[in-house]
Amino acid sequence: MAALLRGLRAGRTLRGLCSVVSAPPAANPQCSGLTRGIHCAALRLQDESKSDKPPPSSSSTTHHEHYQTHSAEQASTSDPAAEEASRPNTSYQDQSGEQGEEYETEEQLQVRILNAALEFVPLHGWSMEAIAAGAETLDLSSASTGMFYNGAGDLVLHFVSHCNSQLTEILAEQHKQVQLGQAEQKRTADFLRDAVETRLRMHIPYIESWPQAMSILLLPHNIPNSLKHLSTLVDDIWFYAGDRSTDMNWYTKRAALTGIYNTTELVMVQDSSTDFQDTWNFLDNRIQDVVNMAGTAKQVQSTGEAVVQGLMGAAFTLKNLTGLNQKR
């Protein structure tokens, strides 16, 4: 069975290559052998599906992408099933009571459950109860929460990645505006400030329970994922701020922004001023600090060079005066 699957996957990648090199094999009349026969049938089906849906709606294109890249996605989910790779679709019309809900894969269903669960977070906190309540709004039994092996961690990580992708969209939109000349390019400090503020404002609906979420993100088995999300967030912000550095600056800039983001987040959870004004002031000050430090660093470097040159000159003069530099 594993060999069959490997053959199918190999066939899929080959087909990808073939479509680039030559015309796609629409029909394979001579298929000998059981394995190749099934393989050919699968190919024919894929072609059929492509021709069947000429105006692709968003759901079907994602479905097709899922079909192609499902093996890559396996690593991100908790499904160890190898057979799932050849079955990206969940229920069709043959499953009773699910008509009208066209989710394509289990991952998408899980995403829908988690999105529905976010509403219940103010009531139940970041916990399995919130996920169960979310599942129930989708008419699924609360037993389906068993799909989330990481429990509350799944919910928090989903929310974090959702916020990050929202921020990336906003930044990309702003970037496009600047490219089209409809908006002005902001200064780096202002850009960073606005980006961090936008991102942190997404926490406001859940600010009461955000300390619980932060502690969940710090659990040892969640740390790799939360660090990954944080690093992609910071990288995205710097990229859209226009940073194209390739030296040590790449690391220092991201480290600085990570520090700013984390400390501002901590200030935000205990901020009680109106509209979190204290937090934004804190953010301003921190960014100002970093900007000052960058300026100071440059000054220190040039001052240092000047001082060294001065000392060298003084030493040379001293040598001349004491007569050690005589060359007779």
Partner: protein
Amino acid sequence: MAASMRLLVRRAIRLTHRNINVTTAGASGQTGCCCFSDAAGDRSTHFGFETVPETEKAKRVYKVFENVAQKYDVMNDAMSLGVHRLWKDMLLHVMHPQPGVRLLDVAGGTGDIAFRFLEYVRSQQERQRRRATRSMQTPSWQDISDNYSNENGEESKESRAVVCDINKEMLKVGKQKADSMGMGTGLSWVVGDAEELPFDDNQFDIYSIAFGIRNVTHIEQALQEALRVLKPGGRFMCLEFSKVTNPVLARLYDAYSFQMIPVLGEVIAGDWKSYQYLVESIRKFPDQEEFKGMIEDAGFYCVQYYNLTGGVVALHSGFKL
């Protein structure tokens, strides 16, 4: 249309794989069920290491459990040295039932899983109630009156467990246990065949079957029935003996199974043959991966299994989505 064609192709792939398995796996003889031999008339299946006609298997299994019903729990403790309690606790832990769910425990005879389920849910509800009262240290009159009206609504969140078994003797023993433990509320005892459950569609949140599915004549049918009675989003959980992966452990396990267990059966329960059947039926049951494939074929998603005690017992879980 293309979508359903794809489903058909996948089924075809799996069927052909099964065909290859049946025709080439003559040496191991692990997959004893010959569903692909000639149709009609007397199909035979395995009863332990014997081959019997399918119609007879159910009767003989019934007789086995009729004989062992009285000493079932004692024998479980003796044979597994008490570890079966840990296995069942693990099942509940993985199940992690939320308050208000309905459980169907098939082949649940003496009710071990159902009892544990009710205890788990009740202790969770206790904890929630305690947490709620702790956060309301000084309730106002409004809060107190709200609490009174809430308590009437609590009844609808009561969890219920239904124990279903084909064997009346096992259910009788289970009912006696329930009465002696004082766990009357929330339990129902129903006689039914796992291949043809006497319940409507979409009734239960969780379907569990612990150490029972290997006694079913047509496992695929039992899986189909499980799919039918589960609500959308419901979970199928199966605890069953399976293949030990470690070769050293496997040899010890085989020696223990074939030498010790029938002897224990004779000494404690006075029944050698039933426990011989038990040990043989374990060997005839498909292994973890194959059973997982069968569950997926029946239409469950997100199927996963956990090996307990090195593979002696496997806990399979699937969802109806």
